[in-house]
Each structure stands twice: as structure tokens, then as C-alpha cells.
Symmetry: C2
Subunit: 371 residues, 2 copies
């Protein structure tokens, strides 16, 4: 065969639903020569990653670590560890990722009770209260930041009523962590997962998760093994916790990357980071509305890091995104699921949430729309 | 919290069971700024990775791609896609990784028939023939290079008899691929998985897999969904194949790394690479035997890239490995499972298979043993 040349990809401005731009310091960390996965020096790095993750999740949960695969594997890790065949799970669905949770719940052999809300809306606490009437599910699961719709789902009230009723409270924070506030302990969250390639601005490849002591109890009380060996927390916790027993080879370079990315998050400060995300969202909103784009989500439920907008009359979806990519090297996301072909998803996540990026996109759009 | 400083890990010589040393060009590729996972430029890179993987696996299987997680997830991906509850699987066990396959087979709800061989030995084709008498299993699975014992398992004869009997032939090539010959098409292998952090010398994080058309048929003929959403090949093949439909966000930087690592494998040439692995194994063998180490595996079944040796009388296992690490920055592996505390595993995989490394290890050992 003809061996392809060395990679020389174009430099993009990543304003889609992830991956987001990665800081050069994180890229540099990826290029660090490897340690072994049982090297004492590597174990120290793991400890630091766990401690920084707890800070970002705002939790003291000992069982907090990055799963060795991308965000969706975090979803699967949480669900396959908590659910056994015959368990019941309530899943709130207001977009693609609630649907994905439902799919996984069924693959676990658990009974699924869905709470649906229209795409672009949030789930109302009363819906969850109704779903819990006459049911004793093992868990209630909900997406905090629906990447398919741009909805920021309020969690406090739902968390309170779930805890009062007894089930475990499971949250998808793939797109929220590092972009808007996520308070695991204050909100009574029992199991949460995220991804690295959104507001943490590390390359995709890890899924940070955290389990409350109550969730750990549920895992250790299982009667059957989790259906996934790779994601079996009862074994993984020995590697990330006490005995450091080998389970699988940790993705060393990705752990280097998340170490640096978490450092940058904490050096900036969580509050300052959230403020930056809101400020750049406002700048984008003004600009896009001025060009005739319409936001899908009501103002109080908008994610600053993921802006779903309907295109102005006459502007075509795919050809315009292709022009942004080819002529300006800017990536924005198309719609997913019900929203395919109908909306754009403009991500301002982590390093991509930058005033210069917003202005670049707006000026490119003005140029295209003038023609 | 006190934010930890930037990473500055010591530079190791990695002579354990993986990860192996990574070429600086692969590390540099990891630091390449990211493309989106649906960017046309990224799709081209995916095509090149698939084509190079086919070359290294010596196959024309269209369904050849890297699973987005480490080697053990490749094992899980192959088994959960091929097995349904109630299916029967014959698993050959001659070390930790055959045991791991058995565990996963049981988690699939499949009936397990084990073929056991003593640790440090290979599985005899007659054992497999006996196991197939009166059985019609869905698959027969075997480890090509047992990382826990250093045994190179001959596959041709077993492959022939499995194919003649009808089951799918499944092979673990985590430690063999890129270090010794692996011939997927010639040996009638239906499903195979590997890892990047062994003889391919890329960082851990991906599991190259390949499915024969017969295996793809078995997957598409399933009556139930695979128990893993993340590893469900029926969906992943759409992203790596025709429609490019989004499934999960691909680990972009790891794909950059494997692209460069595969390029380096093919630029060296497979045969030249295997010869280098054998040559450095011979050098190591001479040196270690001269120091009183004894090889566990009979000469004709030894893996050149993973050398299991018993320590000379009086040399302590853990303290000596710790001195190699602390005083010489050399990592060698301890024993696993039945071999824990009894043997060392000295890896000469990919970039770690280097004459300078062998001499460095031997001279460090001579120094320690003189004292």
C-alpha cells in the first residue's frame, strides 16, 4: 500500500457541540513521554486528577475518577453499575441524550419509565413527582445540559424530591461541567458523568464520573456482576483507590491531558469561568439575533455554552456550514435527532468560549449573508 | 485546594508489559490541534487509519477500526457483539487474559466451555478438537500472545480445525500485533482485537479490531441488542463506514497517535520489525541467562516482545524492580495472577525493543547484583 504522509490537518476554530478548542498547554501535556500505569509517579498524578475532579464537581465523594473512554461510556458506566436486571429506572427525556440513557437502561434488563418533555424545553419537577407516584425505582436519571437542544435543566428541585422519595439521583453533566455550575453534594446527586471534550477543553477520551457513598453501597450490594467488565466499578475502584490492583491499562496521555485541563480550570476559577461563558454567550446572542437567527430555548433555560438557533429565512443549513468550514475554517454543529436540518448548534465551550472566536464567526456569517 | 504544578514526570525506559516507549513523532502527533469528529479532513484520516490497520492485520476485512477505549475494551467489544444470551463459547485459557475472556463470556449470559492449559504453556490443537466434540459453539476464543505468561500461541492449526467445525474464530492479539506475525485472513480469524500500547507503540487508549464478513453476518443476525451501547458495532460501523452517522465523539488525539504509529510500523516494514523484535530478544536472553535468570517458556513458544523469567536465587522481586525504577528509571513488570511474585515480565515491545535499552537493563542489573 502507499503509506500516507504525516498528518497536517488544517487549524479549525471549533464552535460545534464538541470537541472544543484545546489549550496549547493541554496539547503539550499530551506529548509528555509515558510513565507506566503502576509507576509511583503516575499514581501521584492520578491522585491529583481525582482531587481536582472533586473540586470541579464540588464533591467530597471518594469514588471520583475518569472512566477510560469518552463521555458516552461514562453514561454507560454509571447505568450498568447501578442497574441490575429487573430494577426500575425513571429516565427524563428531553433530547438525544435522554433517549440514549433509555436505550442503555433497557440493555441493562431494567424496566424503563420515561418522563418526556418537548425538545427545546426542560423537564418540570411536577412531571418527576408524578412519575414517582406508586413507583419505587432504583434511580431517576436526567440530563443537566442537553447537547442536542441547548437546554439547561434546573436540578435542585428535582434532586430534592428524588432524594425525599428514595431513589438514586443520576445526572448527565457531559456538556455542563466546567461551563455552568455543577454542585454534586449540594444538589444531592448520587452518580454523575461528564466528558473531557466540552467545557473542560481536553481532547475526547475520558469520562469523569463521581459516585456518592449511597451509590457505592448500591454497587457493592449488587447480586449480579455488572454486564460490562471494562466498566465494572467494583474492580476499577481498586486501581483508582486503595490497592492499586491492575484492571486495565490506563490511558496515560489522556490522564496527562485532563490533569493540565483541570489545572487550567482551577487557575481560572470556576466562577470566573462561568462568567466568561455567559459573557461570550451574550455577545453571540446579540450578534446572531442581529443577523436574523432565532434562539430555540427560552432565555432562562439557555445553556451559554451551547446555543441552538433557527436559521434566518433563505439561509441554507448544510451548504452554509460547509462554507464556514472551507472558507473560514470555522466548525459549527448541525441539528441532531428531531432538530436535524432545522437548527444550528453553536458551541462556546471551554477554550472555544472566546470573544475573538465569536467575532470571527459573526463576521464570517455577515460576509456569507451579504452575497 | 492547592492547585498542583504542571506535570514534570521523570523519563522512563519502559520495559514492562506495556505501555511501551512511544516514538517522539507519535507524541508530537498527539499534540496536533483538534479537528471535529465529523470534519471531512478527519474522515480522511479515519480512512487512512483503517487502511493501515488492514495492512498490519493482513486482512481485507472492511470492518476494521480502532475501538474508542483501551485493549480490554476491544476484548469486550468483540465478545458482546458476537455473543447473545444462551449462546455457547469455547474459551482457551492459559493465563490472565483467557480468564478475562471467560469472565466476559459469562457476563454476556453465554454458556462457557473452558479449555485450560498450564500457565507458561500453549494450548494444544487436540484439546480444542476434543472440546468441539459434541458441541456447536458460536465461537472459539484464544489469546495469541499471553501477556501474563509470555507464551506465543500457534494459531494456524487451531484456526483450521475451528473453521472446519463451523464456529467463529476469535483471537486476542493485544500483545502480538506489530511484534510478531498476525495473519487474519490467512489464518481464518473471524474477529480479532489488539491494543495500541504494546508493539504498535502508541499511547494506550484505542483497541484496533477487525471482523470478517462472517462475523459481521453474525452481528447483524442478532435477535437482541448487544448489552453495551458504547461498543455496539451495528452503530459504530455507520460512523467508521458509510453514512458517517454520529455515535460517540471519537478520541481525536488518540486517532492522530495511531495514525502516526501505524505509519512508522509500515515505514519500518512488518518483516523488518519482527526481525528487530527477535534480535533484541536474543540479546536480552543471552544477557539474562548469563546473570542466572531462567526463562519460563520453552524456546519455540517464547514471545520475543514479552520475556517471562524466574529470578536468580537471592534476588528479591519487588525491591529489585523498585531499585531499577528509582536508580535507573527502568520499568520492568512483575508477575500477574499465578505468577505474582514469582517472575518478571520484561517487555521489548515496539520502540522499547532497542539494543540500547537491553544493554541499559543488563548493565543496571549487573550493578545491582554485584553489591
Amino acid at each position: 500500500m502507499i503509506i500516507p504522509p504525516e498528518l497536517a490537518p488544517p487549524t479549525r476554530v471549533l464552535l460545534g457541540p464538541g470537541p472544543s478548542d484545546v489549550d496549547s498547554r493541554v496539547l503539550r501535556a499530551m506529548a509528555t513521554p509515558l510513565l507506566g500505569h503502576l509507576d509511583p509517579e503516575f499514581l501521584k498524578i492520578m491522585d491529583e486528577v481525582q482531587e481536582m475532579l472533586r473540586e470541579v464537581f464540588r464533591t467530597r465523594n471518594p469514588l471520583t475518577f475518569p472512566v477510560s473512554a469518552t463521555g458516552s461510556a461514562g453514561m454507560e458506566a454509571v447505568l450498568v453499575n447501578l442497574l441490575e436486571p429487573g430494577d426500575e429506572a425513571v429516565v427524563c427525556v428531553h433530547g438525544v441524550f435522554g433517549n440514549r440513557m433509555s436505550d442503555i437502561v433497557e440493555r441493562c434488563g431494567a424496566r424503563l419509565a420515561r418522563v418526556d418533555a418537548p425538545w427545546g424545553s426542560h423537564v418540570d419537577p411536577e412531571q418527576v413527582r408524578d412519575a414517582l407516584k406508586g413507583r419505587k425505582p432504583k434511580l431517576v436519571a436526567i440530563v443537566h445540559a442537553e447537547t442536542s437542544t441547548g437546554v439547561l435543566q434546573p436540578l435542585e428541585e428535582i434532586g430534592e424530591l428524588v432524594r425525599a422519595a428514595g431513589p438514586l439521583f443520576v445526572v448527565d453533566a457531559v456538556t455542563s461541567l466546567g461551563g455552568v455550575d455543577v454542585r454534586v453534594d449540594d444538589w444531592g446527586i448520587d452518580a454523575i458523568y461528564s466528558g473531557t471534550q466540552k467545557c473542560l477543553s481536553a481532547p475526547p477520551g475520558l469520562a469523569p464520573v463521581s459516585f456518592s457513598p449511597r451509590a457505592v453501597e448500591a454497587v457493592t450490594a449488587r447480586k449480579t456482576k455488572p454486564q460490562s467488565w471494562y466498566l465494572d466499578t467494583t474492580m476499577i475502584m481498586n486501581y483508582w483507590g486503595g490497592s492499586r490492583a491492575y484492571h486495565h491499562t490506563a490511558p496515560i496521555s489522556s490522564i496527562y491531558a485532563i490533569h493540565e485541563a483541570l489545572r487550567l480550570v482551577l487557575l481560572e476559577g470556576l466562577e470566573a469561568r462561568f462568567t466568561r461563558h455567559r459573557r461570550n454567550h451574550e455577545l453571540l446572542r446579540e450578534g446572531l439575533e442581529g443577523l436574523g437567527f432565532e434562539f430555540v430555548v427560552a432565555p432562562e433555560y439557555r445553556l451559554p455554552q451551547l446555543n441552538t438557533v433557527r436559521l434566518p429565512e433563505g439561509l441554507e443549513d448544510a451548504p452554509t456550514r460547509r462554507r464556514l468550514l472551507d472558507e473560514h475554517s470555522i466548525e459549527v454543529g448541525g441539528g441532531l435527532g428531531e432538530f436535524a436540518g432545522k437548527v444550528w448548534r453553536v458551541g462556546l465551550m471551554g477554550c472555544s468560549s472566546d470573544e475573538k472566536h465569536v467575532n470571527l464567526l459573526l463576521s464570517a456569517l455577515r460576509g456569507i449573508m451579504k452575497q
